[in-house]
C-alpha cells in the first residue's frame, strides 16, 4: 500500500489496525444482515439496525412525520457518541464508506492520472444538509435519497446482489451443459445458491438507474478518495457539526514533525493542511491512517488540540442562503403533481401495513430493505408512479411477484415505521388493493362474448386460475356459471370486492399473455376485509316447532352475487352498505304450507333500518327493533339485519308468519341499537308515524314523489357519505301530506354547493322564488310551495306544502332543532 516502504516505519499504529478490524467486521455484519435478511427477520432479528443508526434519516422521518419515532434509538446513541468521538461513524462503521474504501483501492492506479482535477468542495455537504433539512419543513422528505446507509443498502440489494446471483447462475448453467463438469459444478452451484440465499435471481425494476447513481459515486473516487464522504455526504456534515467536543482530535507534535507531507497526501478526507500540522476536526473520520504512516510517530489523538492546529469549518453566508433558497424552490417543484391525480391516490399498491400515503412518504427513507426481504420479489422501487417526490418508495408489482398470504417480513424490517408491524392473522385480512377483471381480456368473458361463434364450433373457454390461487379462505373470486343450450358451461369470474385483499396472486398467475386480465389497484388507506359467510345456518334454526327448514340456506354475498339473486332492484340494496343476504325456506310438517325467509346483513344498523323503512307498510308489531306486518308479509329490523318473511306455498296465516319471525329474530344477536341520528332533526308536529325514509343515495329519492318533474341530475350531491331522511307531515289545509327532506353532508362546502344547485334547478324550471335570509321558497305550477335552507352541513327542503307559511315554519322547525343539537 504505502508507496515508499523503504522508509523505515518506526512506529506503526495499533489504533489503525484496530480500526481496520472493526471496519471489516462491521461491514461483514452489514452484508450478512442483508444476505440472510429473510431468515433473520423471520426470527424477529433486527435486520434494519444499520439503517436505524443514521441520525440523518431519523431526523428526516421524525420531522417530516411530525412525531417522535422510538425505533430510532440507535441513531440517538450514535449522535450522542459523535459528540465525544467526532466522525468515528464515517471511518469505522458506515457501510458506504467501507465500500468506497474498497473501490478507491481498486481505482488507485487510475486515480493517479486524474486526481484533483475537480474542485474539492468540502463545504458542499453542509449546504446539501441545509437543503435537505429545510425541505423537511416545507413538507418534503428527500433525506432518504442522500442518506449513505440507505444508499449502501440499496446498492447491495438492488444492484450488486441481483447482478452477482445472475452472473453465478448463468455461469453454472453454462457448465451444467457439460456432462463431466456438471457433476461437480451442479453441487457447487447448489451450495453457493444456498449460501447466498438466492434460489432464483432477484430482480428489481429500475436497477439500472441505481447502477448509474452508484457508478457515479464510485467513479468520483477517481478524483479524490472518498469523494462522496468528503464533499457530498449530508450525514457526514451532520457529524462534522457535532464534532467540536470530540476527545479524539488529531494533534501533531510540533517540534518533532519534520513536515514530510506523507499524512497530507494520504489523508482520504483532505482534513490535514499542507503543513501536515493543522487538522480540520470536522473532516477527520478517525481512520488513524496518518498515525500509522507517520515515520516518526508524531501524531496522537487527544481531546486537546492546540489552537494553532485548529481549522474551523468555513461556511459562506452566500452558500448557505443559496442552499436555503434552492431548497425552498426545489421542494415544491418536486411535488408537482404531474400525474394529475387528485387526493394523492395513485393506485399503486403499498406493502401491507403501510401508513396512509402522505405519512408514508414522510416516513419512508427509501432504503429498499422491504424490497430485499420480499419473498416473492414483488416489491420494487417506484420510478415516477408516485411522482418525483415519492421516487424510490416501495410498490408491489403483482405481475412480477404477489404478496404472499402468510408473510409479514416487510412489516418487520422497516426502520422508520412507514410500514407498521402486523400480526399474521391481521395481515391475512388486510386489503392492500382490490382486483378488477378486464372483461375484454379475460378468457371466459371473451369466450362468453363470442357465444355466436362458439355456438357453431364449441371450444372450452373455462379458465379460473385466478379463483384457484386466491388465498382468501372463502375465495374473493367467484364463478357465475353460464350454461349454454348444449349443456356446456362457461364459468365467468367475478371479484368479490369486499373480500378481496389485493394480494395480486391472481394477477401474477393470469395465463393471458402480457398484461393480466385481472389487475389489482392499490387502495389507500388499507382496510380490514370483513369475514364473510357467517350468516349461513347460524341465523337459521333447523326447525321452529312444526316448521322445518328445507335443506340449507343459500347465501348471496357481495354485489355480483346479489345480482344473481335479484336482478332488478339490486341497486336499491347496494345503495346501502349491503354485505350479504341469505335465504331459507321453512315448511310446516304434514302440510303444503311453507314460508320464505330472507335475512339481509348490512354494514351498519342505520342502513338496515334504511332498508326496513324504505317500503314498510301495514301495522307495527313488536318484534326485533322495529317491525311491520302487512297481511301475511312481515318485515323486521334488528341491529345490522333486516329480515323479510313471506308466504311461499299454501295458506300461511299472519300468525304463522309472526310466530316464525319472532323465533328467528330472537336467534339473532344485536347489541344496543338506536335509530339513525339524523331522524332526531325531524319536527314532531304533524309527523306521520312510520313515514320516514332513511337513505344515502339518489336512487331512493328518485322513487319518492317530491315534485312533478323528475330530477335527473344529482343536484343534491347524494352519495355514500351523505345521510338523508325524508318524512311525511300532516297538513291542516289539505288531505295530502307534505314532505320534509333533511340531508347531512360530510362537509359544509358540499352542502352549500347543493343548496346553490337546487336553487338554480328550481329557477331553471321557471319558478319564482321569495328569499328571506338564507331561506328560499318556490311556488310551483300547481300552487304548492317548496322551501330550502342550508345550515352548517345540513340541507333542509320541504316539498308540496299547501301554504308558504307552513313551508317556512317547517324549515325553521328543523333549523332550530339542528341549532339546539349542534350548539
Amino acid at each position: 500500500m504505502t508507496g515508499n516502504s523503504n522508509v523505515n516505519i518506526k512506529k506503526g499504529s495499533i489504533n489503525y489496525k484496530i480500526r481496520l478490524a472493526v471496519q471489516i467486521l462491521v461491514f461483514i455484519v452489514f452484508i450478512c444482515l442483508l444476505i440472510y435478511a429473510d431468515p433473520i427477520a423471520e426470527k424477529d432479528g433486527t435486520v434494519d439496525i444499520f439503517l436505524r443508526m443514521s441520525p440523518l434519516s431519523a431526523i428526516g422521518a421524525m420531522v417530516a412525520a411530525k412525531e417522535f419515532i422510538i425505533k430510532y434509538w440507535p441513531a440517538i446513541i450514535v449522535l450522542a457518541a459523535s459528540l465525544f468521538l467526532g466522525r468515528f461513524f464515517c471511518g469505522w462503521i458506515c457501510p458506504l464508506g467501507t465500500t468506497l474504501d474498497i473501490t478507491d483501492r481498486l481505482l488507485k492506479k487510475q486515480r493517479n492520472r486524474v486526481s484533483y482535477k475537480i474542485y474539492d468542495a468540502k463545504r458542499l455537504k453542509y449546504y446539501i444538509l441545509a437543503f435537505l433539512l429545510l425541505s423537511l419543513f416545507i413538507g418534503h422528505q428527500m433525506v432518504g435519497w442522500f442518506d449513505p446507509i440507505s444508499i449502501a443498502t440499496n446498492a447491495y440489494t438492488i444492484v450488486i446482489h441481483p447482478y452477482l446471483v445472475s452472473l453465478i447462475n448463468s455461469f453454472f448453467n453454462f457448465l451444467h451443459k457439460f456432462y463431466l463438469i456438471s457433476f461437480v459444478s451442479d453441487k457447487v452451484h447448489v451450495f453457493i445458491n444456498e449460501a447466498l440465499f438466492a434460489r432464483q435471481a432477484p430482480f428489481f425494476r429500475g436497477h439500472l438507474i441505481f447502477l448509474i447513481v452508484l457508478s457515479a459515486i464510485i467513479s468520483l473516487g477517481l478524483f479524490y478518495k472518498r469523494y462522496w464522504c468528503r464533499d457530498l455526504c449530508p450525514l457526514g456534515a451532520l457529524f462534522a457539526l457535532f464534532s467540536d467536543w470530540s476527545i479524539f482530535k488529531r494533534v501533531v507534535g510540533q517540534n518533532i514533525c519534520d513536515g514530510c507531507d506523507k499524512c497530507t497526501v494520504d489523508c482520504k478526507m483532505g482534513a490535514i493542511d499542507d503543513t501536515g500540522k493543522k487538522t480540520q476536526a470536522g473532516e477527520c473520520i478517525l481512520c488513524m491512517k496518518c498515525q500509522d504512516i507517520c515515520p516518526i510517530g508524531a501524531v496522537r489523538f487527544t481531546s486537546k488540540q492546540p489552537s494553532e492546529q485548529v481549522v474551523p469549518v468555513n461556511l459562506t453566508k452566500r452558500g448557505f442562503i443559496t442552499a436555503c433558497v434552492s431548497s425552498a424552490a426545489v421542494a415544491p417543484l418536486l411535488s408537482l403533481n404531474f400525474q394529475k391525480k387528485s387526493n394523492g391516490d395513485f393506485g399503486i399498491i403499498r406493502p401491507p401495513g403501510s401508513i396512509p400515503e402522505d405519512k408514508f412518504r414522510a416516513k419512508c427513507i427509501r432504503c429498499g430493505e422491504c424490497m430485499r426481504v420480499c419473498k416473492t420479489n414483488g416489491l420494487h422501487p417506484t420510478i415516477l408512479e408516485a411522482d418525483l417526490s415519492g421516487m424510490w418508495t416501495p410498490q408491489l408489482i403483482p405481475r412480477i411477484g404477489y404478496c404472499a398470504h402468510d408473510c409479514v417480513l416487510c412489516t418487520k424490517v422497516c426502520p422508520s415505521g412507514a410500514i407498521t408491524r402486523l400480526p399474521k392473522e391481521k395481515k391475512k385480512r388486510l386489503a392492500i388493493g382490490k382486483a378488477r377483471i378486464d372483461r375484454n381480456r379475460c378468457i371466459p368473458w371473451v369466450g362468453y362474448a363470442r357465444l355466436p361463434d362458439l355456438d357453431k364450433n364449441w371450444e372450452d373457454v373455462s379458465c379460473g386460475v385466478c379463483e384457484e390461487v386466491c388465498p382468501v379462505p372463502t375465495k374473493a373470486i367467484h364463478f357465475n356459471t353460464y350454461v349454454h343450450g348444449n349443456g356446456k358451461e362457461i364459468r365467468r369470474v367475478y371479484v368479490r370486492e369486499e373480500a378481496c385483499i389485493g394480494c395480486g396472486f391472481c394477477e401474477k398467475v393470469c395465463p393471458v399473455n402480457g398484461r393480466s386480465a385481472i389487475v389489482v389497484e392499490g387502495i389507500q388507506p388499507q382496510v380490514m376485509t370483513s369475514e364473510i359467510g357467517m350468516l349461513e345456518n347460524d341465523l337459521f334454526p333447523v326447525s321452529v316447532e312444526d316448521w322445518k327448514r328445507k335443506g340449507k340456506s343459500t347465501v348471496y354475498a357481495g354485489k355480483d352475487k346479489l345480482f344473481e339473486y335479484i336482478n332488478g332492484g339490486a341497486e336499491v340494496y347496494l345503495s346501502y352498505s349491503f354485505i350479504q343476504v341469505s335465504k331459507a325456506v321453512y315448511a310446516k310438517k304434514d302440510t303444503d304450507n311453507s314460508v320464505k325467509v330472507d335475512i339481509w346483513e348490512f354494514g351498519s344498523s342505520d342502513d338496515a333500518y334504511g332498508i326496513f323503512a324504505k317500503d314498510r307498510a301495514g301495522q307495527g308489531v313488536n318484534i326485533g327493533n322495529e317491525a311491520s306486518l302487512y297481511e301475511n308479509y312481515l318485515w323486521v329490523w334488528k341491529g345490522k339485519y333486516f329480515m323479510s318473511i313471506e308466504p311461499y306455498r299454501g295458506n300461511v296465516s299472519p300468525d304463522d308468519i309472526t310466530f316464525i319471525g319472532t323465533a328467528i329474530v330472537d336467534n339473532i344477536l344485536a347489541g344496543k341499537v338506536s335509530l339513525p341520528a339524523i331522524l332526531m332533526y325531524l319536527p314532531e308536529d304533524g309527523y306521520i308515524q312510520g313515514s320516514s325514509r332513511y337513505f344515502h343515495k339518489k336512487i331512493i329519492l328518485d322513487n319518492i314523489y317530491i315534485s312533478d318533474k323528475f330530477i335527473d341530475r344529482n343536484v343534491l350531491n347524494l352519495s355514500e357519505q351523505t345521510d338523508a331522511v325524508v318524512a311525511d307531515y300532516k297538513s291542516d289545509k289539505s288531505s295530502l301530506p307534505f314532505k320534509i327532506l333533511i340531508v347531512k353532508y360530510s362537509e359544509k362546502s358540499v352542502a352549500e354547493e347543493s343548496f346553490k344547485n337546487f336553487i338554480e334547478l328550481r329557477e331553471s324550471w321557471g319558478e319564482d322564488s321569495v328569499k328571506t335570509d338564507t331561506l328560499y321558497t318556490f311556488e310551483d305550477l300547481k300552487g304548492k310551495y317548496s322551501s330550502i335552507s342550508c345550515i352548517n352541513s345540513f340541507l333542509v327542503i320541504t316539498f308540496l306544502v299547501e301554504t308558504k307559511k307552513d313551508s317556512e315554519s317547517s324549515i325553521n322547525g328543523v333549523i332550530s332543532r339542528v341549532k339546539a343539537n349542534q350548539g
Binding site: K375, T376, C463, V465, E468, K475, F479
Partner: protein, 328 residues
C-alpha cells in the same frame, strides 16, 4: 508486463478466444443421450388397498400414519418388491401452497416421511422429495407444509425445483398437447428409477377434484395456467408421459370446499367416515376413482378420470383388480 498490444496480437487473441468460446458452446449444445424413465419392473399386487386409521390426539398422528403406511405397503406386496438396492427414488408429494398440514392442501408430511423411510430401508441409493410449487418462492411452502423437516429427518433429500431443468418432451398420442416442458428429475431414467406420487385428496375449483392424476401437474413447467382451459384432457395427456410406479393417496384429511388453496379449518373433513384413510395402488386412475367416492362422486363424473381411463392409463373400476380394506 507490456501495456500495449499490437494490432496483430489483438486480432490473433480475439480470433482464438472467439473460436474457443464458440467451440465450447458448440460442444455444450450436444445433448448426451439420456434414456427416458420407464415403469419399474415390479412384483407388486395390482389391487387397491385402503387403510383406515384414526387419531385421538394430535401427537399420535406421526406414529399412526407410519403404521398405516407400512400396513398398506405390506398389503400390496412390500416396498422391497418395488425398490431394489441402489435405486434412485423420487417422491412427489403435493407441496403446492404455503399452508400448514391441518388445512389439508398439502400432502401430510408423515406420509411422505414414512414412504421415504421405507424406501431407504429397502436399499434405495437416494430418495428425493420435490414439487413444483404454485407459490412463487418454494421456501415457505416447503417449510410450512412440514414436509421439508419430516423428510429430512428420515434421510431423504429435499430439493427445490430449478427453473432451468425443465425440458420440452413430446407427448405421444396427446389429445390436446403435442409437447410440454417436464422436469428432468421425474422424466429421466438416470434421475429416477422409481417414481412415487403422493397426492392429497381435495376439492379443486377448476378440475373439481385434485388427486393422483392432477398432482402430476407439479412435475411440469411452462405456462401452467394455460392448462386450465380444457383441463381434463390435458391432465390425461400429461399422465401419458410421466411413469408413476406407485400412487399413495393421502386422504387423512380432505378438503371439501374452497380448494385447492383452502385456509379454513371448517372446510377440512376429519371424520373417520369420510376421511382418515390412505389409498395404495399402482394404478393412478383406480386411486382417483376411489378418491372421487369420498366426495360423493363416481369416477366417471370427473372429466380427467374419464379421459385418463379412455387413454388406457388405468382402470376406472377400482375393484376390478382386487380391493382390500384394512383398519387400524
Amino acid at each position: 508486463m507490456k501495456d500495449n498490444i499490437s494490432r496483430r496480437t489483438f486480432l490473433k487473441t480475439g480470433i482464438a478466444v472467439g473460436t474457443g468460446l464458440y467451440g465450447l458452446s458448440y460442444l455444450s449444445s450436444f445433448e448426451r443421450p439420456r434414456s427416458l424413465k420407464t415403469f419399474k419392473e415390479n412384483s407388486l399386487k395390482k389391487k387397491l388397498v385402503v387403510v383406515h386409521g384414526d387419531i385421538v390426539e394430535r401427537n399420535d398422528e406421526s406414529s399412526i400414519i407410519r403404521e398405516m403406511v407400512s400396513r398398506g405397503i405390506k398389503a400390496i406386496g412390500g416396498m422391497d418388491k418395488l425398490v431394489s438396492r441402489g435405486d434412485n427414488v423420487v417422491i412427489k408429494p403435493n407441496i403446492a401452497w404455503d399452508r400448514q398440514p391441518e388445512y389439508a392442501v398439502n400432502t401430510n408430511p408423515f406420509v411422505v416421511a414414512a414412504l421415504a423411510e421405507m424406501c431407504i430401508e429397502a436399499g434405495a441409493n437416494r430418495v428425493s422429495v420435490l414439487d413444483h410449487t404454485c407459490a412463487k418462492n418454494p421456501g415457505p411452502s416447503y417449510i410450512n407444509s412440514g414436509i421439508e423437516k419430516a423428510a429430512k429427518e428420515v434421510g431423504a433429500e429435499v430439493r427445490f425445483v430449478n427453473e432451468r431443468l425443465f425440458k420440452d418432451f413430446k407427448i405421444p398420442g396427446g389429445k390436446l398437447l403435442d409437447s410440454w416442458p417436464f422436469y428432468e428429475k421425474f422424466i429421466y431414467q438416470d434421475e429416477a428409477d422409481v417414481l412415487i406420487n403422493v397426492p392429497i385428496a381435495k376439492q379443486h375449483s377448476t378440475s373439481r377434484l385434485s388427486m393422483a392424476l392432477k398432482n402430476t401437474m407439479g412435475m411440469i413447467g411452462g405456462n401452467r395456467g394455460s392448462i386450465h382451459k380444457d383441463i381434463h384432457p390435458k391432465i390425461a395427456d400429461i399422465n401419458k408421459v410421466v411413469k408413476v410406479d406407485l400412487t399413495v393417496l393421502d386422504a387423512f384429511r380432505i378438503l371439501k370446499r374452497n380448494g385447492p388453496t383452502g385456509g379454513r379449518l371448517e372446510d377440512v373433513d376429519n371424520n373417520y367416515e369420510n376421511a382418515r384413510r390412505l389409498v395404495f395402488c399402482v394404478d393412478p386412475v383406480a386411486v382417483d376413482s376411489y378418491g372421487a367416492t369420498m366426495f360423493g362422486y363416481h369416477g366417471r363424473d370427473i372429466g380427467f378420470i374419464r379421459e385418463s381411463y379412455g387413454a388406457g392409463l388405468g382402470e376406472i373400476d377400482f375393484k376390478l383388480r382386487g380391493f382390500g380394506e384394512i383398519t387400524i
